[in-house]
Symmetry: C2
Amino acid sequence: MTDPKLTKLELQVMEALWSGSPRSIRNIQQTFPARKRPAYTTIQTIVYRLEGKKAVRRVRKVGNFHVFEAAVTRDIAQGRLIDELLALFGGRSQPVMARLIESGKLTLADIKEAEKT
Amino acid sequence: MTDPKLTKLELQVMEALWSGSPRSIRNIQQTFPARKRPAYTTIQTIVYRLEGKKAVRRVRKVGNFHVFEAAVTRDIAQGRLIDELLALFGGRSQPVMARLIESGKLTLADIKEAEKT
DNA sequence: TAGCATCACCTACATCTGTAGTAGGTACTA
DNA sequence: TAGTACCTACTACAGATGTAGGTGATGCTA
């Protein structure tokens, strides 16, 4: 079972499921900042598609609504994302590293931290 | 002029232009490995779209064909790509680092190299 | 039980992306 | 100059993605 490829919006929905207990559609929708909150049915469509991709599953029904949970881990999904990016660079991580440091997103402390792993 | 967002295929075309002198459509097409080489017109479409995005420009006409060159640097384009990925992670580079190391794509040598910068 | 709030489902649709065909122009060659 | 090979410009189209409306079902409340 190859991990599914997730899009930007799909990832945002997954994020809601990863960072919290199982949620309902409405609940997921509300994790979006009010200003740029998609319509209820938009989130619903995304969740349904994620279901099709086996990335989420409905765990139970409460009242008249369903509750969903992530079916793939954050690590798996994010890992795939990074691997894909890396592939675009021919597998060379140097540009990535350089950029991370350049943008100040990565500090020496981070590196040392990572080194320990 | 915000740097344009490039897709996978578009990046591959850009790569051809970055790594070499200005090229013709045919020339770009031939940089693709024979096995998975898109049709001439496919590359042509991509180049035209890149033109629309101001990512490439035609520099001259030789015989009956045009010669194109990159209008954005590799650094700019790749940087944008990385920043976007990072944004998906809430700006935290840790997962990226972890993954890089985990997958063996990142070596200590790379880190030391990057540190110098 | 009648209504209102809320859901689930299905359907629609514009855009983006990858992919490529067609028609007509250009240039070199016999 | 007629033929052949290659180009350009335009058009088409399927699948993915973001976005959301409509309709009927469910459940809580007066």
